[in-house]
């Protein structure tokens, strides 16, 4: 059997369920929204039926095929230029006449058309009955009833598509009669256009004539022949004189008249239910007094949900990554300087892991947004906001892209397409980055718990978002009164009816966004993490300015002299060196072993060598004390480690009941040891407190200093230092400067970059360790300034690129980049200096 390939275009009004039909046909996972304008990209999918391979193209949802909006032009250009074999127009059967308006325009284009009456169950429940056979005859197209949400009617649609492609169903487009006067002018123009000179082979002359009379600017540009345009003008003037209105109004009127006539004969509404349940909900939700508080409350709920519910899964992911970096570290000897290990553990796991940790937050945020969108509330939010938006000179609709901006600036900028007025559109586009996007959430999620008490977590986040909104409002006002002077377009919008969101729709939406985030983590952020890791690791410092070796030797000397002081406590002669010798042997061995794998011969040899020394020492007259000392020391260390691990694992706070229980267990274990060997035990405790712990601390301190010096010398450090004079007034140091470089590529990289700059990830893991470092290095004022700067400053590269594409010029993209960064600098500096002046931080 030979398969035939055909292309089918899916068209329909926004909210007609077009996307659901598309998913049912192709099985593609795509967002199903309830707000006009969600589907702006052309999407395609394949499906097979009978001998046909059907390429289904999802056109943007539109109400008509004029040149007023980008979506409508995209849809009609596709029909005209790509010539799909069949157009399937999805019609919301519960709102028939409005939906048929688009269908009529497809008929005028002369494309083979199938009408799908979606939500026919809803229409029936509203008491609407159709005579489908007769209506199909009147419209000249087959009609397929469907309930897309329940996936009913898909096979019938496929059968009809195939039958039409096979020529078994004939499509006889009806020609709307526009009345004697208009038809006369149409004929005249059609004849003119039929002339070879003006022949546009892809367009139907009658359609061209109609569009010219409708004053369609795209078609006028296409025809571009003075004689024809002249003739169109004459015809239009003539018609205006007769009807007292512009021809396009009369044409729309006639189309609606035709539809109304067809429906009168075939549609019967048995119930006269004027107020639907949607209207009742609207009476509350859009109420003058209640509307705004409800809206604010919902927004607050969204943020609380995102923050509190996300905590537990974040902890799981965190533990997974610390386990993973542990496993990878075992592949190398402990003292390795292997760049590969550093790349894997510090660069990749540190960077990507640090971003993936915030996946639960992102998913929850998008869950909330999907709920708002799919239920239909989003359109009401635009309505509620119109009063406010109007005050700042924007359109209520601008609010939708701004709200999407809380998720991600990139789709938000794309959503500005729903604004017809260019000034409205550019203003909205320019202020969108001030809507704190999801990628900035990780930064707040890192910083807020580090610096602010628990009760302040939610409100603090809310405050940050609020600052963004206030700034956006001010920026819009300034833009509208300077660069984009002029009235904003009057507010007219269709309200989709409320719908209970389907679980499938919400989950698909949430998964899609989550997957996008993961993909970003796997590609862009992975790449950036590697680049940034290299920038922070190279050039390597060969010769250090400070003599760290001497510092190490000095620390060791102090350690051993503290050990010698133990002698009297343990009942040894003051000059006895056996304990010192044993500990020395242990340390040398550990250093040697760190260079080998535990399976290496050298590793085992070093172990044996140490054992022989210790055994030799134990066989001296005071050897018994040494063995007891080592034994008790190991027991105490084990007990303490057990306690520390349990506390870290459960993230226990000192006042938690579990913490207290563990603490008393530790005390019991220690008391038992003390009871058996009181003198040795006390010696060991002194050893731990006055020799071992101070020594470990000093070593760590020296290493950190060394790391710091290496970082200062690296590329990132140099850039950070170079920027420091500019950053100082905002309270930022070069480390923050270094992280800002990464944040330009993608905001969430800031977190990963801070992790690398502070070299967290070797022995301590996760945000808690980084939070500790931040707490030690910065004041809450600086922390707030970081969040402020990240909120306002430069949009990420992706946003820059999409603004360039949508505004069609680098000018606006760069203006936004420069403007926002300058604004961020000024505001952050002001806040920091004022804070310092007031003695905060």
């Amino acid at each position: 059997m030979i398969t035939r390939k055909i292309t089918v275009a899916l068209a329909g009004n926004p909210n007609s369920g077009k996307t659901t039909v598309f998913n049912n046909l192709t099985g593609a996972r795509q967002h199903v929204g309830n707000y006009p304008g969600v589907t702006v990209e052309k999407k395609a999918g394949l499906c097979k039926h009978g001998a046909f391979e059907i390429n289904v193209v999802d056109l943007p949802g539109t109400y008509s095929l004029t040149a007023y909006s980008v979506e409508e032009m995209v849809a009609r250009d596709f029909i005209i230029k790509d010539k799909p074999d069949i157009v399937v127009d999805i019609i919301d059967a519960s709102n028939l006449e409005r939906n048929l308006y688009l269908a009529v325009q497809f008929m005028e284009l002369g494309v083979p058309l199938i009408l799908v009456f979606n939500m026919s169950d809803l229409a029936r429940s509203r008491g609407i009955e159709f005579d489908l056979k007769k209506l199909s005859e009147l419209l000249g197209s087959p009609i397929v009833p469907m309930v897309a949400q329940k996936n009913r009617g898909t096979p019938a649609l496929l059968d009809t598509i195939v039958a039409m492609a096979d020529g078994k169903i004939h499509f006889k487009p009806v020609r709307i009669n526009y009345g004697r006067e208009i038809e006369k002018e149409l004929d005249h123009l059609e004849q003119l256009l039929g002339d070879k000179k003006y022949h546009h082979h892809k367009y139907h002359p009658r359609w061209l004539a109609l569009k010219l009379l409708e004053d369609d600017r795209q078609i006028k540009e296409l025809v571009n022949a003075p004689e024809i345009l002249e003739a169109v003008n004459r015809s239009a003037m003539h018609l205006e004189k007769i009807f007292g209105d512009h021809p396009e109004i009369i044409i729309s009127d006639k189309r609606y008249g035709f539809i109304s006539g067809a429906c009168q004969e075939t549609v019967r509404s048995t119930v006269q239910a004027r107020y639907t349940s949607s209207d009742l909900v609207d009476a509350v939700v859009t109420n003058r007094l209640l509307g705004f508080p409800i809206f604010l409350g919902l927004m607050y709920l969204v943020f609380q949900l995102t923050f509190t519910l996300g905590e537990a899964p974040m902890h799981w992911i965190e533990r997974f990554f610390s386990w993973l970096s542990g496993q990878i570290s075992f592949l190398w000897p402990a003292a390795t300087t292997s760049p590969l290990k550093s790349l894997l553990v510090d660069g990749i796991i540190g960077g990507v892991g640090g971003v993936i940790v915030f996946l639960p937050n992102i998913l929850l945020l998008f869950l909330a947004i999907a709920l708002l969108e799919d239920s239909g509330y989003m359109a009401r939010a635009a309505f509620i906001m119109d009063r406010l938006m109007h005050k700042i000179g924007l359109h209520g609709k601008s609010f939708i892209p701004m709200l999407i901006g809380f998720g991600c600036s990139v789709p938000a900028v794309m959503a500005t397409r729903m604004l017809e007025n260019k000034r409205d559109r550019l203003t909205t586009m320019l202020i969108i980055p001030l809507m704190s996007c999801g990628a900035r959430l990780p930064i707040y999620a890192l910083i807020i718990p580090a610096f602010f008490p628990r009760v302040w977590h939610g409100p603090m986040l809310w405050i940050i978002y609020l600052i963004g909104i206030v700034l956006a409002v001010l920026a819009a006002r300034v833009l509208r009164s300077t660069l984009f002077k002029g009235l904003s377009a009057p507010f007219v919008m269709e309200l989709p009816p409320y719908r209970v969101p389907t679980l499938k729709g919400i989950l698909i939406h949430m998964w899609e966004r989550g997957w996008l985030y993961l993909k970003k983590a796997g590609t862009v952020i992975l790449g950036i993490s590697i680049v940034l890791w290299a920038m922070t690791s190279y050039p390597r410092k060969e010769v250090y300015d400070t003599d760290y070796d001497t510092m190490m030797t000095r620390a060791e000397d102090n350690y051993y002299s503290a050990v010698i002081k133990l002698n009297s406590r343990l009942g040894l002669p003051p000059e006895a060196t056996l304990i010192k010798q044993a500990l020395q042997a242990e340390m040398t061995t550990a250093r040697k072993q760190a260079r080998f794998y535990s399976r290496d011969r050298e590793y085992r040899e070093a172990e044996r060598f140490k054992d022989s020394i210790v055994v030799g020492l134990e066989n001296t007259p005071e050897g018994g004390i040494l063995s007891e000392f080592l034994e008790v020391r190991d027991m105490v260390t084990r007990a303490r480690n057990t306690f520390d691990n349990a506390v870290n694992e459960g993230r226990l706070k000192p006042d938690a009941p579990a913490y207290l229980l563990l603490k008393s267990n530790l005390n019991i274990t220690l008391a038992e040891i003390e009871y058996k060997q009181p003198q040795i035990y006390r010696g060991v405790v002194t050893y731990m407190d006055s020799a071992w712990i101070p020594y470990e601390k000093t070593v760590k301190e020296i290493n950190r200093q060394k790391q710091g010096e290496a970082l200062t010398a690296s590329v990132a450090g140099r850039i950070g230092h170079f920027l420091e004079p500019v950053l100082r007034p905002m309270g930022f140091d070069w480390r923050i400067g270094t992280a800002l470089i990464g944040a330009f590529a993608a905001k969430e990289v800031f977190v990963a970059q801070m992790g690398i700059v502070f070299s967290v990830g070797d022995d301590e893991d996760g945000p808690e360790a980084l939070r500790d470092k931040l707490r030690k290095n910065y004041t809450p004022l600086v922390a707030f300034c970081i969040m402020l700067f990240m909120l306002i400053s430069m949009p990420c590269l992706a946003t820059l690129a999409v603004v360039r594409r949508e505004s069609n010029s680098w000018k606006w993209a760069l203006f936004q980049l420069g403007g926002l960064t300058l604004l961020a600098f000024l505001i952050t500096m002001l806040v920091y200096q004022a804070g310092r002046f007031l003695g905060i931080g």
Partner: protein
Amino acid sequence: MMPLSMVAAGKKVKLLTVNAGRGLKARLANMGLVPGVELEVISNSRRGPFIVAMKETRLLLGRGMAHKIEVE
């Protein structure tokens, strides 16, 4: 004859004309707001936009917009 903005909620009216520029008028006509169409005001609060029903469609109009629509 009066502007749509003066019509109280629950009232049914007939659209006469739209006092607007050519582009906007055409856009509204495309949405179905053509002379003669029946509208029912669903909600009309003193300030801000309001909702009209046109057959099964619910339209949100700004106050400025509603001023420009003449009905009877």
